[in-house]
Amino acid sequence: MASLFGFGQSAEVVIKLDDHDTRPTAKIRNDDGTLETHYLFLDGETVSGTVDVNLKKAGVKLEHQGIRIEFIGQIEVYYDRGNQHDFISLTKDLARPGELIDQRNSFQFEFANPEKPFESYMGTNVKLRYLLKVTIVRRLTDIVKEMELIVHTLSSYREEMNQNIKMEVGIEDCLHIEFEYNKNKYHLRDVIVGKIYFLLVRIKIKYMELTIIKRETVGGGANSFNENETIARYEIMDGAPVRGESIPIRLFLGGYDLTPTMRDVSKKFSVKYLLNLVLIDEEDRRYFKQQATTPMALPEPASPELERSVDEDDRGRGGENGVGDGSSSNGPKAVEAQ
């Protein structure tokens, strides 16, 4: 109450990482579509630093019930706001209950090699985030300071494990195509290279495009809830091919807003990417290659060095990737969080 009426002491809390000047940063899209920049961590990396508590009024001491710092990994489903799920929660006490007398106080902290199993994610209906949270416990109102961190998960990326996809699909007596993608797994800055062979064409094709769809699944079992979002729409053929024609595919992924594939994260949600081949005929009927769109493990595993390059490029490129049509720029249409 004292502070409420102006007599109490108040304090400014600053969290400073030990390696703040060397640690890379990464950007993540916020609820409102803006980009936020935070420090980037990988799984198992130690998070250490100092917490400075600066008292605002000189000569007035600050009474507290203890000061602690927490390292939290949290999943928040938007339609179920109250129910945040912390899959990680580590706590370190910085000070026992007492009072702060000096105007400047500094506390060291270290979370040694904490597990960070999931990738930071900001989706349509769900977000997964990591944060450092300093709490100065007081009788009435705690002083809280949070610092968000971004975590990228790294995956082993072994070329020989990566097979190309080749499949023949079609509608009887109408359309018969064979398509081929060079891989079934792509990293975030990869290029999809492929070819489409037309074995039989009896429809008047107007054009053909490739779309990347992000499917975010929240919940599990019968209660699961899907949200599809078209990340990229890319025309790969204009006009009608003749039989025997092969059309090249080359799609750079780096320009699009992709995340790694996430499977059943903490039993709360999944994010998958689908590569969808669509042919549009002259009557504007769309022929999905539904068979073709078997879930493509899109940017699931990413090699360490490529992960790092994501970081650098994002810094340089921001949201405006080349001359893309901006189909990638509609960020998650999230329920507005307060």
Binding site: I236, D238, E245, P248
Partner: protein, 780 residues
Amino acid sequence: MTTDNNLLGSGDQEAQLEEALKVVRREAFEMKRWLDRERLIDALKHAQTMLGELKTNTLSPKFYYRLYIDSTNELQHLESFLTDLAQRGNCPLELYENVQYAQSIVPRLYLMITIGVVHMKAGMVNKTEILHDLVEMCRGVQHPLRGLFLRNYLVSTTRNLLPDDAQIKKMEDGSVTDAIHFFLTNFGEMNKLWGPSKEKEKRERERMELRILVGTNMVRLSQLENLKVDTYLTRVLPGVLEQVVSCHDPISQEYLMECVIQVFPDEFHLASLREFLSACKELHEEVNMKNVLSCVMERVQTLAAAHKETQLFSLFAETAHSLISTRNMPTEDIISLHISLSTLAFKCYLEQVEYASTVYDSLLRILNEKGIAEQSSISPIGRELIKVLDNATQAYGHVGKIVQLKSFEPLMNLLDVRARCRVSASILECMIERELFIQNEEELNGLEVIMAPLIDDDSVKLTKDDIEGEDFQDEQNTLGKAIHLVRFDGDDPDGQFLLLSLVRKLVGRGGIHRIPFTLPSLLFALFKLATLYKEKKCDVENWDMKMRKVMILAMNCIKKLHEIGGKSDIPLRLYIEAALVTDTIPFEDSPSIVYEFLSKSLSIVEEELSDSRSRLSSLFTLTCAIEKTRSLSHDDVLKLANHIALISSNLFKKADQVRALCSCASLFWSTRYRDEDGEEKEMRDGEKVHSVLTRALKMGAQCMEPIVQVELLIDILTVMYSFYSDGCNQITEDSIVEVVGRVRDSKAQLEKSVESERMDGLLNRSLEVMEGNIVSRMRM
């Protein structure tokens, strides 16, 4: 707006194009603005929007072309700007990737090409790889119109960048082989795009408009400096031919074969002829093989002629025949193929007639099998047939050589009469033009065979239309001219006489419609022969007899002309001409022959000329002619002169009588004759002159029209005075004075008019002449 079927009318197209161009201009402007600030990404965004217009579905090739030109012009700006930048090292390599994020494929590829070109120019990248990538990625555009233009852009922007070195100098630059590969791939793809589609009719027109785009590939390919014959043989031609053969589309095949023929040099064709021709056999049934083969033959013949390549002809002949036998070619095309073959034969082996002979023989065989006959000159077959025959004419020129082609005449006989005449006439025209003479009997016989339709009345019946037709007259005139080509080898008058008598026989078969054109011509040829005889008098035996024969033949000709009727004035004049010619060459019988000619003409005047005007003029002519002769005897002259005087005084009009008498009076005075001793003398028969003039005066006096009377009297006066001054004693001064008096009297009665003034003038002039001599008595 979504399908090709929605092509608009041309007015709408114009509007549509205008809209699109507006966008192009606006976006291009924005693009340049950003370029000036070196904001490449922004500039490229506008370039992309600009190129988005090229996605249109609604423009026909013509309009699309204009859009394409404007858009690519703007791209040119972008390209040169970036090239500048690249030279300063400021053009990032990532641009090539950046532009690939474009969602639409058409703008994406245009930009890729542009950036690719910039990078290649700056030497920043591996040329071969980029070229390969571009040519492959362009596959994404399968729409014919857009694809063709896109690939055309690819070919035209890369034209100076393609590797053109025989050897690889720098690994990443590649060699000419890579360029060839590039062109062949691009060409293959364009050919596919250009190929036929289901909506056939509509596309056919468009395709004709678009073919030049496909052809561009070939042109560029042929411009590679290091494309050598062996590379052409091993790589280029097989690739192209395979494309051509496999596309199974007649329009493409025909155009592309022609393209190949036209763009590559002759020596390449000569070297690859076997391959080319064997590919020809595999082309689509509907391809107009005639065009293709003719085209290639035309190309190689000059070179072949220089090389004297003997196999060449048989190679072509073989191909042509196998095509003819395996395909269902229209007859006119078959003929036309033979035209090309014959041209080749003539060009390369003009002296060896057997080559050309085979061509004509085989054509005859084919046409006989097909039962072709009586082709008119306007039917397609007839037209070609005439051409193939003309081809021989032009090559050989001389009929003597043409008849060596045994099939020439039979082929000619497949035409109808009119057309045959035309072929014959064109042979003659050709000979006339080149002054090729007919020098012996054999050649004349050849002429007889070929010219039968022009000459022979028995084999060719003429209709009335034929006779009155301009063509007939032209042809017969030509034939007439051609008679002068008969010129016996070596100036031998006897030989020439023999030839001309043969000609006479030939011409004689022409019937009444042809003779009027040909006989006069022959006649003059005979006159010329007569002159020749005169020159060679000393060299010829039996000279007098031969001269006589010539002139008899001439007379016979005129007689024939006379007999067939028609206008009489021509035989009349010919008789006179013959008389004058004979008169200049004195031989044994010449006086009697001259007399014969003259008397014949006189009898024509007397018996046939009914029109008084022509009668009078003929009399004048005849009088002049007789006055010119020198070889007649006194009696003959007198006979002729008397007769003329008689006819004159029997003329229908008084005025004509007076004039005729005045003119014939001089016959009795100045005509020269030869007396028994062979001396030349003048008639000087004053009595006769006097009596004729007296008669004229009498007739003049009877003339009722005063003005005419005055004129006649003045005429008589003038004539009288001329005799008087020439020493004719029978014309006295008194009589002249008397006439003058009569003139004055009559003139006095005239009313004053323009006419009477003219008379005054006439009289005064006459009097002026006479002054000096008879002045004193004149001015009474």
